[in-house]
Homo-oligomer: 253 residues x 6
Amino acid sequence: MLLHHATWPEVETYLKRCKGIVIPIGSTEQHGPNGLVGTDAICPEVIATEAGAEAGFLVGPTFNVGIAQHHLGFPGSMTLRPSTMIAVINDWTESLLRHGFKRIYFFNGHGGNITTISAAFAEFYAQWSLDAEPCPARLMQRNWWELPGVMDTCRTLFPVGEGSHATASEVSVTQYALPHAIKSVAMSPKIAPSGSFTDAADYRARFPDGRIGSDPSQATPEKGAQIVAVAKQALIADVAEFFEIKPAAAAAQ
Amino acid sequence: MLLHHATWPEVETYLKRCKGIVIPIGSTEQHGPNGLVGTDAICPEVIATEAGAEAGFLVGPTFNVGIAQHHLGFPGSMTLRPSTMIAVINDWTESLLRHGFKRIYFFNGHGGNITTISAAFAEFYAQWSLDAEPCPARLMQRNWWELPGVMDTCRTLFPVGEGSHATASEVSVTQYALPHAIKSVAMSPKIAPSGSFTDAADYRARFPDGRIGSDPSQATPEKGAQIVAVAKQALIADVAEFFEIKPAAAAAQ
Amino acid sequence: MLLHHATWPEVETYLKRCKGIVIPIGSTEQHGPNGLVGTDAICPEVIATEAGAEAGFLVGPTFNVGIAQHHLGFPGSMTLRPSTMIAVINDWTESLLRHGFKRIYFFNGHGGNITTISAAFAEFYAQWSLDAEPCPARLMQRNWWELPGVMDTCRTLFPVGEGSHATASEVSVTQYALPHAIKSVAMSPKIAPSGSFTDAADYRARFPDGRIGSDPSQATPEKGAQIVAVAKQALIADVAEFFEIKPAAAAAQ
Amino acid sequence: MLLHHATWPEVETYLKRCKGIVIPIGSTEQHGPNGLVGTDAICPEVIATEAGAEAGFLVGPTFNVGIAQHHLGFPGSMTLRPSTMIAVINDWTESLLRHGFKRIYFFNGHGGNITTISAAFAEFYAQWSLDAEPCPARLMQRNWWELPGVMDTCRTLFPVGEGSHATASEVSVTQYALPHAIKSVAMSPKIAPSGSFTDAADYRARFPDGRIGSDPSQATPEKGAQIVAVAKQALIADVAEFFEIKPAAAAAQ
Amino acid sequence: MLLHHATWPEVETYLKRCKGIVIPIGSTEQHGPNGLVGTDAICPEVIATEAGAEAGFLVGPTFNVGIAQHHLGFPGSMTLRPSTMIAVINDWTESLLRHGFKRIYFFNGHGGNITTISAAFAEFYAQWSLDAEPCPARLMQRNWWELPGVMDTCRTLFPVGEGSHATASEVSVTQYALPHAIKSVAMSPKIAPSGSFTDAADYRARFPDGRIGSDPSQATPEKGAQIVAVAKQALIADVAEFFEIKPAAAAAQ
Amino acid sequence: MLLHHATWPEVETYLKRCKGIVIPIGSTEQHGPNGLVGTDAICPEVIATEAGAEAGFLVGPTFNVGIAQHHLGFPGSMTLRPSTMIAVINDWTESLLRHGFKRIYFFNGHGGNITTISAAFAEFYAQWSLDAEPCPARLMQRNWWELPGVMDTCRTLFPVGEGSHATASEVSVTQYALPHAIKSVAMSPKIAPSGSFTDAADYRARFPDGRIGSDPSQATPEKGAQIVAVAKQALIADVAEFFEIKPAAAAAQ
Ligand code: NI
Ligand code: NI
Ligand code: NI
Ligand code: NI
Ligand code: NI
Ligand code: NI
């Protein structure tokens, strides 16, 4: 169930049986010559939507602009400052707690978000810790590509040129999700260079077409479908474990 | 063209012919017994998407959680604090300026956002004004229901019970956009009470099922289609006027 | 009664009979060739002071620098950033709540403040809404020129050239309030151009002497007296309605 | 010349001969049984206004709510948080720099403001220092009671019971400034206790009627006139020295 | 060379030959029954100080309170909010850039800091990326236990009960650094439980004496000396690589 | 007892007999040709450490980077913005209150910190004052040179050329604390010029080698030992008075 497609009485009913929600969280940033600017938001959104529909959990709005300062050398990339993102995550989380949500699962599609999401969690918990009150909710984040089985699938599908940005896998997932938006673009070199980076100028100088270590020309919607199928089941299992409030854990809080 | 469905080279090409972008901006909040929590995001998103496809302008990611503190008495509603929203709009806007965008059109679906968006614009311009440098970009916001012809259409379709929150028209638009998410719910009284409000407790006490002045049981997807058709053409015209950079105006800036 | 001219025991006594206070709120910005930089603060201050003296309500300190980034192209204009103003309004409001004030009426003299004041109210209410506690106070803002009867009076006095900034009416009110500060200045064209604006550079380019649509050379202190007389009575009535805590409303909160 | 009573062309003309401005800065807080809540704003305002009129320097709007958290136990007191006040002083100062002001003299009426004003100056200078650019302006603050000759006058007028809050002198100054607002109130003990304090609860417990060490029943408007006369001349001299931009100093900057 | 033990002319001279600095960064938090509250600051400080002395690089002040909200259930633990820490790291970094430092190496002793340090780096780079200017400096962080060879040494010394908080290794390092502060404390169970945690209440409920998975009763100053010796050499090598500004990299920036 | 050298059970035990803690607070800034960059942190740290060891009170981590924007013209100086420092002091203080500390004594070594520390205290108290709750803790700051007897000692040791920055006394204290870091540097003129300053550019222009009014070539570790001995005893007495919670004061709070 998508929160945006539900009514408030439906949410009220849902909360009687489950206190958990999944928030897809991505980025708006360049993904190389044939990858979509929305890739990192689209991937967790499509996986979470299918999993939520199958397993009956609630999926909140997609957090669609994240930490992408290093991609600003490429048109269309957008970023939040980390301090802004911390404030936003805090407001979203406080809103959900207000309604009694106790498990908030940020389902992440962008490596650049990970540390800021984690910092946001510490900011949120800090208020409770400083007030010497147990926080009634637990927050977690999971990257879609780290769900059990997903990386194995990707490696099998793309033994060469998976890469670390604008990967063959994530481009495949978006091609599955949005077949009308498949791009056919020539890329050279076939496999992009690898390495690290700092700011936007540094990134663009090192990775001229935006890719890092990848050959996303291998992407196909069929491979995307395979990845989504694996990720969906893994997400359902992961969420089920996180949402269940075990007696001991509840006591600990 | 949706930014999320484009590649960065496509955005680069777009910027050679047009410096404008439309950002749908909504809210995540209760919309009464049969209105979707995502209504205020879905309405501008669907209108902008159709208009952008027809007219060839770029549509950015939907700003999907806005100012909805007064709806927090109803499960599923989420809010930003205005100070947070100002920071986010500033980060989005700075990102777009970085790429050379000079016209940013926030296409709004939520009355509660209007004043904070306006404050955010002043915050953004203030930096330029204090630095005594002309700002290279212009920002504007437009509510979808205020586009020429839209209110007339709504009044014709719903002469009674249009209301001001969870309106018959906006529910119709979401039914058009998401026919699989149409809800059939009994409401009483037929037309909800009207009035003003302050915080969430006050709102819920005055408007027990969330509606203000409306009878959204009249909504149909067909009526939604009519509204969207009118709004789409009006948006295309409004955007065309805003995006065009007239020589005199450019000189003034 | 002016708060600044009262002692704390007098305020304590006042609070036993009334929980309301009026805060004049204005701006420090250019008002054309013959309008005072303090016009937008002076107008609500003089009206509120006279009304408070007659009706016995408390008038707080004047909030004298507001949102005027667009006027910074003219010497003497000062601005707060909207985020700063939100913080200040929050501190003022929290201070007043501490003493038991339950009705805070911001009496505004500057169009550029309206949206930021509104955003500040949402920021203030949000804390209560997120905490799921009813806010014990209600905030409102009113522009002096929107009080019943005031615009009619202005239009009657100035059928041509009232304008929208540095208006004939507001200049008249300041001439009534400060007869020793009446300026005699030639203006050309007689009626200033009209239009919209963005930042300070844009404003100054469009409106070279600072006026928008007005001919304030028509201003006289006598006309100002007429406007103040009408506004004073309307303010007394408006405040009386707002300050009265009706049983039903109290229950709703 | 008061900024609020001037037009922008008058300010423009002023800036050709002088780059300095005086900002009265006070507080809105209890001042004991017969002292006005606005005392700390009224005192610097009246002295600065008279001095500015005599010496021809510009006086800006009065900063009328300062740091008074410790007075919040008494009705009518209002406070900014120091972080808010720093932001406001920064915005005011940036606005004035925009117009070419190079000497900004904060003329202070409240001991509780001193350290926050100083912190605000460091915040303002820090941006320039971090950017390795010389700041084009100099900021200073002066308490009115520390001007040469003022304390001597106060001690002569009130050899006993001058005190440190709600002093006989400051109450006299307000009686001179606002003879219609003179209060006749019995106080006991004649001289209030002395000591230090932390927060509002602590202050009220130690100083039940708000005074510290003072006997303001001695205040008279005539004594206030004497104090203002001394302070006015001292302010004129102090400002003259500060505003003059000596060649060497200018080079050093 | 320690910055705190140097004079400014010495720093000036240093900058002629090297643009790099190492900042030890730790935490003030409980480290179990026999671990020092300062453990996470002491470890990187002692390693960096010895390495800096041997290799001649500059070591800045120790950042000694970090993100430890989860330890607040134990007396003596102190935390920054992540948003505060981001602001501090930004101010430190801006200060160093002012002097021409181009390589800032945060040498970290606390796992809980990692993500916030990373977010702070993104916050810092974002300003440059949004301004479309290449950042003249590079920032990196390294955890002392992740330097080549260190973990191997720890595992060899403590094949059982190394743990993940209040580890045998870090306690050993502090015993080496501060032999007068070695504590002899009985612990039970011998090896503490393992697991994850959220806020302070959750942490204390799961890990009653503060340790996670460790048996720090095995710690000795001699083992600490071995660890420091390995870490020191690895740090020297790591810093040497980071500080060297290669022509290509410089051009890329 | 140093907090960093204690375990949490030791802190727990300490809190049963004493609710007070001393926080050395300094700066990282140039101190002239022979003064250490860490002087202002080292001085209070060494005095507090010796006093705490003798008298048995707890000494927290040293706050080692303060307000030094005016020193940024000299390599190695680092600053916080005052708004950042207020946030940090608030986080430190909230952390300590969490554990039951009721007396927090900031022992300061840098004149530039004084006003911001004071503003931070007001920020902290303001939350309690606005919430109408008595703050359970008291904060104070003391400069080490203002302890009874210290200035007399300094004047006796250095009748000429003590100065106000990079003083003969503070350099002596650091020579006592760090005899291996004594610098032998020629200075000219023997006594540095005196005066005030604004930002970093202004400071460097007025005081080319960083000193103000001092001749620190007179410094010796022996004189430093004398100063520390006097300051230590004075600190013990001052802390004892502050930490004792007298019945009346407790009731007042
Ligand atoms: Ni990606
Ligand atoms: Ni709506
Ligand atoms: Ni006006
Ligand atoms: Ni006073
Ligand atoms: Ni550790
Ligand atoms: Ni010093």
